[in-house]
Symmetry: C2
Subunit: 247 residues, 2 copies
């Protein structure tokens, strides 16, 4: 609840997600308008940023860190329905109350816009709305890929798919060696992975151990992963060699 000192002001032009977020297409004029209605908030890992059903006071972008979108049934069963990475957009313009819980998976910094002014701005300037459409279409594609994972893949394939996605994302940041070995840290606990994949945390643990035993991955500690042969991993994920996952 106490806003840490981290919530210092960043000028939009210096923003690390300037070119990928909902503001990517804005000209300097529009950026100026956004600058007027934005504010930063940071959250610690584990904090709930938005409760499902709550009134949405703001929409915004993830600047740094990771958050998850989750749904929970009355008996406690939980399904993650979105993984929010830096530059991803949170909230739905035009909707009053939140449809999902948004939880900080790691410490996170958000760039928030008060909802009403943002909606106003969206109606007036085409660039924000257009970029949001583009991002929403991408998210829809990602959601549909996940429907295949959830509905039809085995536990082992699910884990391999998730590792593949995380590896792929990292490879955007370090596009150098992709073919022959890639290294990354898992940003999720076993439980969070289970919630993403529609598995139990025990099954996640077992399958990770199995992939390690079979030499598909190597582990240092519980989170640091080495994938010696990316093609092998994609094969385990059940994806055809070429295509695979967008996002």
């Amino acid at each position: 609840m106490n806003a840490p000192a981290a919530a210092q002001m960043i000028r939009c032009s210096d923003c690390p997600i300037r070119h990928r977020a909902v503001c990517a297409r804005c000209d300097s004029d529009e950026l100026e308008q956004l600058e007027q209605i934005k504010y930063y908030r940071s959250f610690e890992a584990g904090q709930t940023i938005i409760w499902s059903g709550d009134r949405m006071e703001f929409v915004g972008s993830v600047v740094s860190g990771i958050a998850s979108l989750t749904q929970t049934m009355e008996d406690g069963r939980t399904q993650m329905v979105g993984l929010l990475l830096p530059s991803d957009f949170v909230g739905r313009p035009g909707r009053d109350s939140a449809a999902y819980d948004v939880v900080a998976t790691t410490d996170i910094m958000m760039c928030c816009f008060r909802r009403k002014p943002f909606e106003q701005l969206m109606a007036e300037t085409p660039h924000v709305a257009h970029r949001l459409l583009e991002m929403t279409l991408d998210e829809l594609d990602a959601a549909r890929e996940w429907m295949l994972v959830l509905g039809r893949k085995t536990a082992r394939e699910k884990i391999a798919s998730l590792l593949g996605i995380i590896a792929r994302r990292n490879s955007v940041m370090a596009p150098s060696e992709f073919r022959d070995g890639i290294v990354f840290d898992l940003p999720l606990t076993r439980e969070a992975m289970a919630d993403y994949l529609g598995l139990t945390l025990e099954t996640v643990s077992r399958q990770i151990s199995a992939l390690k035993r079979d030499g598909v991955i190597r582990l240092q500690g519980k989170r640091h992963v080495t994938v010696p042969d990316m093609a092998r991993l994609m094969d385990e994920a059940g994806d055809d060699g070429d295509g695979g996952f967008p996002l």
Copy 2:
């Protein structure tokens, strides 16, 4: 391949989906422009409308009938990732090749727009783009609801969820008696239901039989369903009484 006589011209103002489709917000001017680039195509049940990977020549709206969006793995496992009802939009502006198979589930009529002119029009007029954003956000919500169904629900709950959605959709068309009994025809085969729910067709059949045995539903023939107590069905679906599914 032979376009049946059904593909007669309909004036946009007389169109049955005029107020719900991507053109819903258009003024008469914009409608005129759409009228220029549209054409109708009909497909028979079972026909593939678009093959995944194919070049997208057109985007469009479902006018009547039902189509499904599916993904298939190399070994044949299939997951439906979208159910396209009248007024739903097909295709992604800005994308050259299709990401999914689009298959006609019933006989279907489509209102198609040549892609390039449509993209042009979208860039110039705000109403189409805005409506498309709205529809895409709705689809994303629906996809996320399905992720919960696919990832966390039991076979019985999955079937109940699907029946609930179809019942709900029908209730839009016949909003009269919703509380005490609703009747509808299943637009899907057992296999299509299985592909939607991430189950086998045998499991679908068994669970439908079980729901019938337990008095949750009644059946006449294989497709005609009566739900005597909607609240009971929603309960079987694992949804809390009030909320439930959007779309």
